[in-house]
Subunit: 387 residues, 2 copies
Amino acid sequence: MNKVRFGIIGVGNMGRAHAFSLLNEVKGAELTAVCDISPERLEWAAEQLPEQVLRFSTAEELFASGSIDAVMIATPHYDHPPLAIEALKHGLHVLIEKPAGVFTKAVQEMNDAAAQSDRKFGIMYNQRTNPLYKKLKELIASGELGEIRRTNWIITDWYRSQSYYNSGGWRATWAGEGGGVLLNQDPHQLDLWQWTTGMMPKRVRAFCQFGKYRSIEVEDDVTAYVEYENGATGLFITTTGEAPGTNRFEITGDNGKIVVEDGSLTFWRLRTPEPEFNATYTGGFGQPECWKCEIPVDKSNGGSHQGILRNFTNAILNDEPLIAPGEEGIRGLTLSNAMYLSAWTDNWVELPIDADLFHEHLMEKVRNSTFKKEASQGKALDVSGTH
Amino acid sequence: MNKVRFGIIGVGNMGRAHAFSLLNEVKGAELTAVCDISPERLEWAAEQLPEQVLRFSTAEELFASGSIDAVMIATPHYDHPPLAIEALKHGLHVLIEKPAGVFTKAVQEMNDAAAQSDRKFGIMYNQRTNPLYKKLKELIASGELGEIRRTNWIITDWYRSQSYYNSGGWRATWAGEGGGVLLNQDPHQLDLWQWTTGMMPKRVRAFCQFGKYRSIEVEDDVTAYVEYENGATGLFITTTGEAPGTNRFEITGDNGKIVVEDGSLTFWRLRTPEPEFNATYTGGFGQPECWKCEIPVDKSNGGSHQGILRNFTNAILNDEPLIAPGEEGIRGLTLSNAMYLSAWTDNWVELPIDADLFHEHLMEKVRNSTFKKEASQGKALDVSGTH
């Protein structure tokens, strides 16, 4: 194989961007088919995509068509796992949009299916190609920061107006998207939080507020406190209701602290690791000498969807290691599932979560999802500036 | 009266600094007496203070001496309320060190005594004279920020080594100090948190870790989540175990956000208040225009103890309004009491707290305070660089 023939399921906002990337930007990839249940969106595809790109109105037809080697799944979140499982069964390589799904029970089934397959399985965690977070991960993994003591991500710059939510009737409903800011805006940060630090919490206590700033039924404001196995603590603070908001990720360790904010990575590095200083210091108010280090970060070409599409294509063609293996999508989703469960039960949630219990709670929300918005159904937004 | 004759009870670390301020820095004040139960510290006073400053080994003798008009109480925290009540009974003006006490039950009794007295009653919240926080309070009170939505104070730059704790046997014990970072390092921030915003939480959910970084029995690491009456949420994150730590106070409101960090006050000001923008915006991902405004702050003479001593003296001499009325000390203490109670009960705590319940819990800790440190008892540290 010297070309990977791609199909895309779901040519809404993100699917369209991926279509053009596959057509124009990704060497070794070719877009041969798209699939959507919406006649309007297939109409769009007929008008905007090259003639030779086949169009299907069901995934079954696409999978059976023999026209593709790999499929990009860019549907509503609930459909990622069942479609991925079906695609794998058809011997297709599978790349899913984030989040991996809505509840871990289904995502685990998808992971099991992938484990039993020899096909490539990836997830569109394009922020893993962002040089800032790559560098952060490298610094932590190489031991520069020492043992981690605290993580604190304030990610409140996801401003969304009511008109955004009204642009699609499925948006911000339990039945449609299955969640709010955690599931739609934060999947990258939830992944990067665990990916850069290499740590998943052991328990979570979260405070979610539902429809606080907008007329929606899901959460638009969350504060989550976590505790890790090594004794470290963490915070994840997020909302779509604030402007201009903040995106500041601070990680403290034995050797100082790192702050990622405003596109910069700053390492306040202790000359002597704190435990060593403490063990030998005999004075009163002294503390370890600290150097403020501006860490160089390659500012070019960060966080692009094309980076993941290229890597996934190369994984199929040349067995290049995946930047974002699909199986790892369950981690970020576990974090958001745990946050919901903690808020709903007003209690601690231990990890791994009780996937059945979460699913029961979620399905109850879905059954009671009576929210009706005055929506301009199905309008595709220009997402060129989003992640 | 054209001179206020001051006595100081407790000439340990802070008492000594106040003694020199009263001797040399505060117009209208005169230091006429000191009192300490420690012969060594009275010996120090005999050697270091002017001859005419009287020395007493009990508060009773000081109060009965007729040598003072006002008393500065700089004893261990537990003693603030009983000494203040006794001093008020003797017709003395009273200035107490922070915190107001260890538990609100006693502090309320002190406040009741002050309310029944015509004497001045102040607390050494010298950070209320810090131009940064004065400006912040003014911006919020004048409505520049609009309705507050979120407060987030990361105050983790209180590094204390084990040798600091070992410098006094009473340090960081339930029986001696009655608490850790919340009670000894954070009283200013706990006060400023409510003073600058003008809001006390309605409930608190806190996570305290006891002796996490040091061999001490009290807390040295705290994350506290709060909810306010108006729907806003807040976080207070503190530790003595990290270096270099962070001191960053972010407040979000309808009109943007303010960040106080590194001695600067920055206001990200929305040109249109967010609720107004949201009500009229019809697009997809847009958000209100935002101006990054560097707010001028008088950098001189901020946060000094002398400022409070001068104000308290002028309050007595000229009825100048108190910057930090003693009765307000209960607010910050209520916050830390609530945090302990939440951690001990692993549950929400509503404000105002159940003062009796807190007292019961605390007394149990005091009874079980079996911690014995290898301490160099009673060494006075140089606190010239502290708050």
